[in-house]
């Protein structure tokens, strides 16, 4: 049974009015009656009936005009108007509909048809009501969702901040709300200079994708700041995602470890499309191919952290992209695809323009740039190495330990997996006087440690690195020998000595290797700008004093500070 409605009847003929009123009342509705258009409009405004029966021809104001005014007052709400008419010619009936009428009923009135029409119109009216309610509800939910996303985004920005994405060596293209598409771009300076970069793409969209991005950003920034290596960061991110994400949700990612000073990039790609290392001054490109499952799929034990190493030269550019670039779709439903991207590379004449050209090609292809594209370019510029902002320490450093020494020996089994540098540097930075030199300390430690490990313990020959092929071979041997390492050691002797106006750090590092001819290596490194190592020359530049014992077993470096310097 339809609900009880209030029905307005506008009819100038009193007998007809009475008849209609009786039929409608018997159907269970309340009736209002008007004898002309003006009255009808006034009654509508006052009583807001839900349905109107309107005579077309009436004195003072006819039904057409009254219908127009009522429809206007009703606004979005559907107030069905059924025209009552003895007009039969088509044109007149069209006028009824044009004035806003929803149906008409021919005179003389038939009770059964009138009742049926009122019921039908009531159904329409309620349908419209439901649609409006749902529309408002959806609008409200959407507004709610957007405001939640704004808050979530603000929190995310605090965690993921922009790192060093504003560095002059980085150019990137990404929507500010990319995290809700599952895209994530992070970059941070390493304490030793150099940079870690991560481009990630989570399965799925919206909040589930964004939630995974949070721990990734925290691990990435936290561990990079403490001086951890790329492989350690990879392992930690993978383990964390595996633990917290449901099966079937994972993160395709490429991570880069760029050492500007050592002119070296370390690459790990799990599930992202090929990145490219574009060589300066040539049209050769090395694809940075996905060799691993995405992050968050494998258990920590099965995870493979094997990276690839490539030498860098001034002017080299690295491009990373999300699959949003290759899957950009034009109006014909075609995908942008790898072939079109490679064509952009092939047609390029001015490498500095490549980034813009890729962007333009995408825009041309699909008309406008959508927000699901992430593209980043990192270049090795010659206007100096990007500099890292000073480290921030939470404590005041008042209780600085100033007179101590310690010796650490890390043996085979440990060297295979553990990176002792973050641990040692954390310890040294308890000494307040050393904090302003933290970056230099990290660099020198990193250089000396990799020398001791690679040449001393693993017995690798840096002469191998004289060309790009040997370079790859060097790092292949490195990871093979490291994986099988059982013997050998690297020792750190740390000594902090107070001095009248400050203090001094003396670090001696020794390894189980054959020893080396420091001065000879230095001559070689200073002499040529080759692919093989700048390590020792760098250490000598950065430390206050750098000496070798006569047997070549070990290196000693010193750093001092004076009070008031901080």
């Amino acid at each position: 049974m339809p609900a009880r409605l209030t029905v307005l009847i506008a009819e100038d003929n009193a007998a007809d009015r009475m008849l209609l009123s009786t039929i409608v009342s018997r159907q269970g509705h309340r009736t209002l009656t008007a004898s002309n258009g003006l009255e009808a409009v006034a009654l509508f405004e006052q009583e807001r009936p839900q349905l109107v029966l309107m005579d077309a021809l009436m004195p003072l104001m006819d039904g057409f005009e009254a219908a127009r005014r009522i429809k206007q007052m009703a606004g979005e709400e559907l107030v069905p108007i059924i025209f009552l008419t003895s007009l039969t010619e088509g044109e007149a009936l069209v006028r009824c509909l044009e004035a806003g009428g929803d149906d008409f009923l021919a005179k003389p009135y038939n009770r059964v048809i009138l009742e049926a029409k009122i019921n039908a119109m009531d159904r329409l009216r309620r349908l419209q009501d439901t649609v409006l309610q749902q529309r408002d509800l959806i609008a409200k939910h959407n507004e709610h969702l957007l405001s939640e996303q704004r808050v979530a985004k603000a929190v995310f920005d605090k965690v993921a901040h922009s790192g060093c994405l504003d560095s002059p060596s980085i150019r990137y293209l990404q929507s500010p709300y990319a995290v809700f598409n599952g895209d994530l771009l992070l970059a941070a300076f390493k304490p030793s200079g150099g940079m870690h970069v991560l481009l990630g793409d989570f399965t799925g969209h919206g909040l589930p994708a964004a939630i995974g991005a949070m721990p990734v950003a925290e691990v990435f920034y936290g561990m990079t700041a403490k001086g951890h290596s790329l492989t350690e960061i990879l392992r930690e991110i993978n383990a964390k995602l595996k633990r917290i994400l449901p099966v079937g949700v994972f993160c395709c990612a490429t991570l880069l470890n760029i050492s500007f000073q050592r002119r070296l990039v370390e690459v790990w790609n799990g599930g992202l499309p090929d990145g490219y290392l574009q060589r300066a001054g040539t049209s050769t490109r090395t694809p940075l191919v996905s060799r691993h499952l995405p992050l968050g799929v494998l258990t920590p034990a099965a995870f493979n952290d094997q990276c690839e190493f490539y030498p860098l030269e001034l002017g080299d550019r690295i491009f990373l992209l999300s699959d949003g670039v290759l899957e950009a779709c034009n109006s014909q439903g075609e995908l942008f695809g790898e072939a079109r991207l490679l064509e952009v590379f092939a047609n390029n004449h001015e490498p500095a323009q490549l980034f813009v050209e890729i962007q333009q090609a995408l825009t041309r292809f699909r008309g406008e740039l959508h927000d699901d594209v992430s593209l980043v370019e990192i270049s090795l510029l010659d206007e100096g190495i990007p500099s890292r902002p000073p480290l921030v320490f939470a404590d005041s450093g008042q209780n600085s330990p100033l007179d101590w020494s310690a010796t650490f020996e890390f043996r085979g089994e440990t060297l295979r997996r553990f990176n002792p540098l973050p641990f040692l540097l954390q310890l040294l930075l308890e000494v307040q006087g050393l904090r302003p030199q933290a970056g230099v300390l990290f660099t020198v430690f990193a250089e000396l440690y990799s020398n001791a490990l690679e040449h001393g313990v693993l017995g690798l020959d840096s002469a191998l690195k004289c060309d790009a092929k040997g370079f790859a071979e060097y790092y292949r041997q490195r990871s093979e020998r490291l994986a099988n390492l059982e013997e050998g050691y690297v020792r750190f002797h740390l000594q902090i000595v107070p001095e009248p106006n400050g203090g001094r750090l003396i670090l001696r590092i020794e390894d189980s290797g054959q020893g080396f001819d420091g001065p000879a290596i230095l001559r070689q490194q200073l002499g040529i700008d080759s692919l093989c190592g700048r390590g020792l020359a760098l250490v000598r530049q950065l430390s206050e004093r750098c000496t070798w014992p006569a047997d070549g077993k070990g290196v000693s470096v010193e750093f001092s500070w004076s009070r008031g310097h901080n």
């Binding site: 799925g204 099966v247 079937g248 949700v249 799990g270 599930g271 499309p273 499952l293």
Partner: protein, 101 residues
Amino acid sequence: MAITSQPSADGQELTIVIQGRFDFGAHQEFRDAYERVDRSPERYIVDLKGTSYLDSSALGMLLLLRDHAGGDHAQIRLLNCNPDVRKILAISNFEQLFKIA
């Protein structure tokens, strides 16, 4: 997109056939295809002959099937991959988890 599944006569093997786009829209249907069977099979075949496109949520769904089928002990073969589909599986290095032919 349409997903059908057919157990072998001895019930040891379940073949899931995917037609058209294999993406998030297929989520429920794909799950039903391996969850609504009378007895658990030993082996699974996902036939991608009619699959025109596969996205990262489809990769996620394959991982869910793998989990359902016993994780590291799962025996799942992905058959009849067209070059586009094969490329996507290759980028994600899924050959480490599935037999792809």
